[in-house]
């Protein structure tokens, strides 16, 4: 199914927003304004964008430590996100969570997650809720090539098959789990692993927004109709080091330069969409400007926002109710 011009523009806006968000976070971190660690999604934009375009209201996702892109693709506001990362009271999580725990349940975003492999069980539950309550919703688990070796992933593949859950496992294979390559750490083949559970699984080019979207659309459709889970093994690229403090010396400078030049999903999208005459370069340029302005404001507001007041909020939000001491 061909994406409409509006779809393409919306997809581009999402990808561009993620890229711009991450470059601003990177700059804030370099300037010492990010208190904790962040893991940047730059390079992988087509994955979150292509997948989440296939979702509708009520659908849910579980994310990872590298969650900003998933948040933005699910429609979270970049202002509070930036404030959260800067540890401010106006943040998405009031400054309590930080980069690795941004969540917005109302938007179906069940949280970034600091535990590798933390998400797969959660989507099984979200999908079970959808099934039990008959909402017709599906749940998507984003996780990395590193996370496929965590036992929770294997257990969840099996459980989702046994319970015929409306789940889509999206494995974003950026080739690295921290400083360890997937080539070393992942024995066999991720698609074959899923098929070992009898699960439909395909390999997808994560540099192609349309290919990602098409694969996601098919898997989401199957899940929504009661056809059970699927897995997408998406090859993608991580542009920055693993986290903001990673000097990333395990990949050569030449390799990284080549990656940026030739394996940038946003450049590919621009080329594809403009060369095919689907959208005009100026339209994309104007989106770029709008996104830059949006992020200017997000950063400005986040920097200006107050820190949370411990006297007021240190011990709130632990429980809904608690007849004991905190």
């Amino acid at each position: 199914m061909q994406l409409s011009r509006d779809d393409l523009l919306a997809a581009y806006r999402t990808m561009r927003t993620i890229r711009e968000f991450e470059s601003r976070v990177h700059a804030e971190a370099q300037a010492g304004r990010v208190p904790g660690s962040t893991h940047l999604y730059a390079g992988q934009e087509a994955v979150a964008t292509g997948v989440c375009m296939a979702l509708r209201e009520g659908d849910t996702i579980a994310s990872t430590h590298r969650g900003h892109g998933h948040c933005i693709a699910m429609g979270l506001d970049v202002g509070p996100m930036m404030a959260e990362i800067l540890g401010k009271a106006t943040g998405t999580c009031k400054g309590k969570g930080g980069s690795m725990h941004i969540a917005d349940l109302e938007k179906g975003m069940l949280g970034a997650n600091g535990i590798v492999g933390g998400g797969p069980p959660l989507v099984c539950g979200a999908a079970l809720a959808a099934k039990t309550l008959g909402t017709g919703a599906v749940s998507v688990c984003f996780s990395g090539d590193g996370a496929v070796n965590q036992g929770t992933t294997a257990e969840s593949l099996n459980l989702s098959m046994v319970w015929t859950l409306p789940v889509i496992f999206v494995v974003e294979d950026n080739g690295w789990g921290e400083a360890t390559s997937a080539e070393f750490a992942v024995a066999g083949d991720i698609v074959e692993r899923a098929r070992g559970y009898g699960m439909p699984a395909v390999r997808v080019d994560g540099l192609s927004l349309t290919e990602v979207h098409e694969a996601a659309r098919e898997a989401v459709g199957r899940a929504r109709e009661g056809g059970g889970p699927s897995l997408l093994h998406v090859k993608t690229e991580r542009f920055f080091g693993h986290f903001n403090g990673d000097v990333d010396t395990y990949r050569s400078e030449a390799w990284k330069a080549e990656q940026r030049a030739n394996r940038d999903c946003i450049l590919r999208f621009r080329a594809m969409a403009t060369e095919a005459g689907l959208v005009a370069a100026e339209d994309l340029d104007s989106i770029d400007r709008e996104v830059a302005a949006l992020l200017d404001e997000a950063v400005r507001a986040a920097r200006a926002a107050p820190e949370p007041d411990p006297a007021r909020v240190l011990t709130t939000d632990v429980y809904v109710s608690y007849e004991g001491r905190l």
Partner: protein
């Protein structure tokens, strides 16, 4: 009032809450049992029979067997709770928490705080615990100190059938993640249990008996043993108060402190291992906040710092019994500065 076993009380609570609220679902290994066989359906109703009959009443959409994948299905409970269900998930023995602690400790327990108060995770994790069944080291632990240590969890350790029912109903209705621990040696104990649904609130200790000479705080199966000890002591002229906190988190500090102050002599009995355990937790509370009223050392009666042994002779010696409790209470009551 009708007499019921601890098991029946729990089963009734599950039936009533599932009937009352369609969002309540239950799952775990062999929670029905028999799936895929040519024999009886719901053959087990849980390894200890606590969920028996739910399948017939509420159907396989709400009563789900699982593969042996505790991380996946305990995490699924957390995810389902975030999205509007009220799952009651069972891990057969609390000892198995080792394979799925992350989904409890880093996920369910922390969602609300990490997400700035936006999440509710109304799940109940049920598990059996405790020694006495000759189940050896990997099937006999108490482990509630671990859960009690973790902010974001509530932890329930009922000692009798009536509390078991009321506390389980409260656990299911509660909006926070609750660890609900059932002592396997209590399942067949009998007590008065009202037929209707009712809740026993969390964080309210039960005053099992009152006596002026010494305050004994005991949990779970140790409550019965403390009562036995108290009868012995009474015959000797020592009157003991017994408090059953019922929930270790929240803990009813006020009641404990009140009676600690009244008697000035405190013994804490705990089936968990001693280091960083509940006995230490309660003793430390008293030592900080009721110090001025104390007339004797705060004594702890616990198993040793060893795994649970298999042989009956060893396991019996491992567990605190009425004699050891009475001896500690005697020492506390008679202590002269």
């Amino acid at each position: 009032m009708p007499q019921k076993t601890f098991r029946a009380a729990l089963n009734e609570a599950l039936h009533q809450e599932m009937a009352a609220d369609p969002r309540v679902v239950i799952f775990g290994e062999d929670i029905t049992g028999g799936v895929g066989g040519d024999g009886e359906a719901d053959a087990w109703g849980g390894a200890f029979g606590v969920s028996k009959g739910l399948l017939a009443k509420f159907g396989p959409e709400r009563v789900l067997d699982t593969p042996i994948s505790e991380s996946a299905f305990v995490g699924a409970a957390a995810g389902a709770a975030l999205m509007g269900l009220r799952p009651v998930v069972e891990i057969m023995f609390v000892d198995f928490i080792g394979v799925c602690l992350d989904q409890v400790m880093n996920q369910a327990a922390k969602f609300r705080y990490m997400f700035g108060g936006k999440a509710r995770t109304p799940m109940v994790l049920r598990a059996t615990f405790g020694a006495g069944a000759r189940s050896a080291s990997q099937h006999s632990q108490a482990l509630y100190p671990i859960f009690t240590h973790i902010p974001g969890l509530k932890v329930v350790v009922p000692s009798n059938p009536a509390d078991a029912k009321g506390l389980l109903i409260q656990a299911i209705r509660d909006d926070d993640p609750v660890i609900f621990l059932e002592h396997k040696m209590l399942y067949d104990t009998v007590g008065e249990v009202p037929d209707k649904p009712y809740v026993t609130p969390f964080g309210e200790a039960r005053v099992v008996r009152e006596g002026d000479d010494v305050t004994i705080v005991a949990l779970g199966r140790m409550v019965g043993r403390a009562e036995e000890a108290a009868r012995t002591l009474a015959a000797e002229g020592i009157q003991a108060t017994i408090l059953d906190p019922r929930t270790t988190s929240p803990l009813d500090a006020d009641t404990i402190l009140e009676f600690a102050e009244e008697t000035g002599r405190v013994v804490v009995v705990d089936e968990a291992n001693p280091r960083c355990g509940m006995a230490a937790d309660i003793a430390a509370l008293v030592a900080e906040e009721a110090f001025g009223a104390l007339k004797a050392p705060i004594l702890k009666v616990t198993p040793p710092h060893t795994p649970v042994p298999y042989a009956p002779s060893l396991e019996d010696a491992y567990l605190p019994d009425a004699a050891r409790i009475a001896e500690a209470a005697r020492r506390a009551a008679r202590y002269q500065a």
